[in-house]
Amino acid sequence: MKIRLTINGKARELEVAPGESATAALKKAGCGGLRNGCDGQGSCGACAVQLDGELVNTCILLAPQLAGRSVKTIDGISHFRDVSPLQSAFIDAGVVQCGYCTPSMLLAVEPLVAQPEAPTREQVMDAMSGVFCRCTGYEQFVGAVELARERTKNPAAKGNVAKVYRDDLKFVGRATGKVDGAHLARAGKAYVEDRVDADACHIKLLRSPYAHAYIKSIDTSAAEAMPGVVMVVTHKNCPDINYSQAGQGYPEPSPYDRKMFGEKVRHIGDRVAAVMAESQELAAAALEKIVVEYEVLEPVLTIAEASAAGAPRVHKGPVDFISGTPDDLDNSDADPRDGRITYLFPIHADIRRNIAASVSGGIGDLDKGFAEADVILERTYKSSQVQCTPLEPHAVYTKLVEGRLVVHAATQVPWHLRRMFARLLDLPENRIRVIKEHCGGAFGAKQDMVLEEIAAFCTWTTGRPVSHRFTREEEFVSSRTRHPIEFQVKLGAKKDGKLTAVYMGVKANTGPYGQHCLTVPMNAVSKSLPLFLCDNAGFDVVTYYSNIPPAGAYQGYGAPQGAFAMQMAMAELAEELGLGQLDIVEMNRVGEGSWLEILRCLGEGRPGKPEQVFSCGLKTGLALGREMIEWDKKETHQDPDIAIGKGLAIVQQGSGLPGLDASNATVTMFGDGTFMLLSGGTDLGTGLDTVSTKFVAETLCVPMEAVSIIAADTDATPFDVGAYASSGTYYSGGAALNAAKGLKNIILDIASEMLGEPVEHLDMLYPGIIKGKNKQVTYAEIAHETQSGVGCGQLTFTSNFTGEAPSFPYGTHFCQVAVNTRTGNVKLQKYYAFQDSGTPINPELANGQTFGGVLKTIGHSLFEEMVLDDEGRCLNPNLLEYIVPMSGDVPDDFRSILVHTDEPFGPFGAKSISEIACGGAAPAIATAIHDAVGVWIRSWPFTPEKLLRAMGKL
């Protein structure tokens, strides 16, 4: 049927099907910026357009409903290559992070820019209330709208988007906008889905309906016979290679405990078969033709079940070691159907007891420490299984180009992917190219290879291009989640609050496979124990296999769970001793100059050693927080049913992995004196490319526009381990800085020759001039000289960054809650995050990272939770029922305050941002709840029902 409508002011006539979605119809009509994050639920708003001026979700509209209406898409907001005042305000205010929701957000708030009266904060939040953004925490959009309104009157308006932290520098430490901001704000092609060619085949996966079963037989003949089906992959014809999906450096601590397809399935949603077909519909239809017979086994879902004597074993395959083979290795009872497990080095697993990994350690003498204590407190805490929920699900597009495998991936680890593909496909790495596309959110989930290897295998086998993208449900059941962890914390202290002994017992549930099974639970210890100084400290970590959906990396990497347990225990200890929470924290906390002895036994990937803290913003953060939130004042509410309380937490993270991480970058001068930066760094929307560009521009004294960047392409750019462990600014940025410094020296040497003056007489001046005592030369002249027939050749320098210093970032989080004592509802009135990330390189984006990290973990604290039934089936595998924080969940008064410290080992004094923001919410909120109503909620999430039970009302 034909419909007439107006699209971006122009009359159009479209041929649509009666049941066609409006999203599909508008895409066919050439409209850009229409994304998909919820598979047609209407819960994410990524597909939104203005319809007669009102924001609507096109995924739940039928195309014929557009008839006679006026549609405005992102294309109607910008004009050619120009960005509108609103788009430029978005960029400058730091609200364009991954960019996947940006078109919808622009359309959501655009009417507020044009309205006569200034919108209230509530109006801005309401306008955005239908659009899910996992990155930004929504808060800075208020300022973006305000700035846009100023710019409509005065295009030069700068607004007040962030403080300046380095007056002495041009770009570092001040807001400059994001180098890819305009492209994303115009909804330019950026993501995997934008790279898929029209002739691409598609993959659909048949997934297990059982949490634990053997595949007795599988018949794919009917599916394979269907026209348009290219191939079907099962355990029978996939590579007979065991591996880990964890995107970690080699040798990985995660065990090689799975094949591409196994003869045993270990969770509901586990892979059974893949169909590659010429359309998604055909692939889905072919799945229906596959006949599978299962031998169903009893599942184990909880730590208690997995650790029980005689529990069903999740893994029974033969075991081997690459190094450190134990003398008593015994495979006599192994079942080959379970597949082989290879450990690259011992991680103290015991698959007969479902133990995936374990580690213990300590300093001092725990028994002595507890004996010296006046008070001993012992508590247990639990975290729940929460999902990363990037707005863009996992996606990959693979194809052959001149005989080489080319992979467009939404990944955090392009080089690790290449290494893993090479092993799985038995290819040398030079036959493989991995291009990291823009990621529509990643948050740790995209550190792992969860679908990429199937597409790579299919393309390499058939020679045909393949697109594969998870549905939202697949994202829940087979992507990555935070490990559910049970903590036992035991503290000993003197009457004055001084700690004498600290013990943390950690039992984690990794699910069916062991990606990150050692390192995430260990991080729960290594990021929480060092916050408090105590001579006697110990820990035991045990991670169990089970049949729940897989756990893995998630922003914070175990630290949020550990922080919850440790900070809560300290608060409970304070109550026991009659002390204030803040006072006991102050008495025992780490500070500048402290030695963290506990790290002697918490090395990651290498032996541990004590580390010294050279910069620490906790003192400032605690002082500011005490003052700003009026910590010592007891608040009351006009409604007697509402009780108000305040809480706090201190948190620590890292800045990459010293001794393990490595980054590289190349800076090259072009003929006109501009530069190209080739960075291995993987920008996930966080602003890393902007960080690296700033470092080069600052060092070489040129405008940021004179530095272009290509990043994270294994063919075009040098090696980098990838984006995880908060390494981006420190390592990848550090490599760019070192490359720029190297090139600076070369430029000075050349200029010295050209000017006939010694280097020590030369100054490098902005914008791109070398000035001697007598003469000067421009970069363009240097480029001409060096690139001419008699020159020394194009100037370029490659450098790397490795480090030994941990450069811990610190955070202090305060919050104020209002608890409805009748319903158990918790309202966040205030949340202040004081973030010490050294020198904030991109202050506006650093604030955005903080807001985003905090709001994610507010979600984890208050409502997010994957609910499984008795068979291990996730009952809420979608955004609507799982529930993610939207703008209506933002605290009434939400602030990110960057505490500037100068880290001596970081580039321009920087430490990391991002993960550090995720640790504070749970303990700060839980301790505030206790302050309000006197109950300790010791497990996530703090639901109204849980509060009511704790208060004795149920």
């Binding site: 209407g42 609507v56 739940i60 039928l62 014929p64 009748r822 979600g859 109204p944």
Partner: protein, 275 residues
């Protein structure tokens, strides 16, 4: 698979089409239920768009307030002609995009737990103007319509005048955009410290909205009881089921507490609603 999309221009044409296509077609207003993979319960072969049929007007006359069934929840939430409690009820759907699409008529006809306006409409004694299959027009009370599994096309919602009425509505959900665990509404007319014409409704303790007739009868003519007394009574008559949103015990407690609070909040609100 939808194969036909009809756009009738009159109410009668829409009703006639529905009759003619019985079993194959359904009405389409905003589309937030039919279009959503989360809420779609029907898979019609044909849809009958009501875009050109339903009124989107809001008007007031001596009989009260008249809301066209085509009004979106967003329109209602910002209309100054609409009593605040009904505006609040429309805004219980926190997702602006959905409020921009969902219609009043659709919210009523769906009669699902996400129909957050229903409790408020019930306690305001909403009357529905309907177009029936025979081409006639009729007016029925909202609970009568819902009780008989109303299939007639809703044309408008009338909120009768009720001088002195006080009302309140509230929801509890896990997050702002979460579909409510419970929505309650309460209203009554104060008469020298006595409760007259009490109306109580709750969404979330059954598959559809429930009016608490027995509690209303208990309240009629009495002084407003204490919150604890109301809570106990309500808890005795609701029978929710355990679900992902909470245990039956929790929902039972919550229904009693929230109804009691809504009644007392209404009593404390000295503004006269819809006088």
């Amino acid at each position: 698979m939808i194969r036909e999309f009809h756009t009738p221009r009159t109410v009668d044409a829409a009703v006639a089409l529905r009759t003619e296509l019985a079993g194959k077609a359904c009405y389409l207003a905003g589309g937030t239920e039919l279009g959503s993979t989360a809420f779609r319960t029907e898979s019609p072969q044909e849809v009958i768009s009501l875009a050109q049929v339903l009124s989107t007007a809001i008007s007031a006359d001596d009989g009260g307030l008249l809301l066209g069934a085509g009004c979106t929840l967003q329109t209602i939430s910002v209309s100054e002609n609409v009593p605040k409690v009904l505006r609040d009820a429309a805004k219980l759907v926190a997702n602006r995009n959905i409020r921009n699409m969902a219609t009043l008529g659709g919210n009523i006809a769906s009669n699902k737990t996400f129909a957050s306006m229903l409790p408020a409409l019930v306690v305001f004694d909403a009357q529905l103007e309907l177009a029936d299959a025979g081409g006639g027009r009729s007016t029925v009370g909202i609970m009568t319509y819902l009780g008989r599994g109303g299939r007639e096309l809703i044309l408008a919602v009338r909120i009768p005048k009720k001088p002195g009425r006080r009302a309140s509505t509230a929801k509890l959900s896990k997050s702002a955009n979460d579909i409510a665990t419970l929505v309650v509404a309460a209203s009554y007319v104060p008469d020298n410290d006595r409760v007259r014409e009490p109306r109580l409704a709750v969404e979330g303790v059954a598959d559809h909205v429930v009016q608490l007739d027995s509690i209303e009868a208990w309240l009629e003519g009495s002084p407003l009881p204490s919150r604890d007394a109301i809570t106990d009574r309500v808890s005795d008559v609701v029978t929710p089921k355990t679900s992902i949103k909470g245990s039956a015990e929790f929902k039972t407690y919550l229904a009693g507490t929230m109804i009691a609070d809504a009644l007392h909040r209404a009593a404390a609100d000295t503004r006269k609603v819809n006088a």
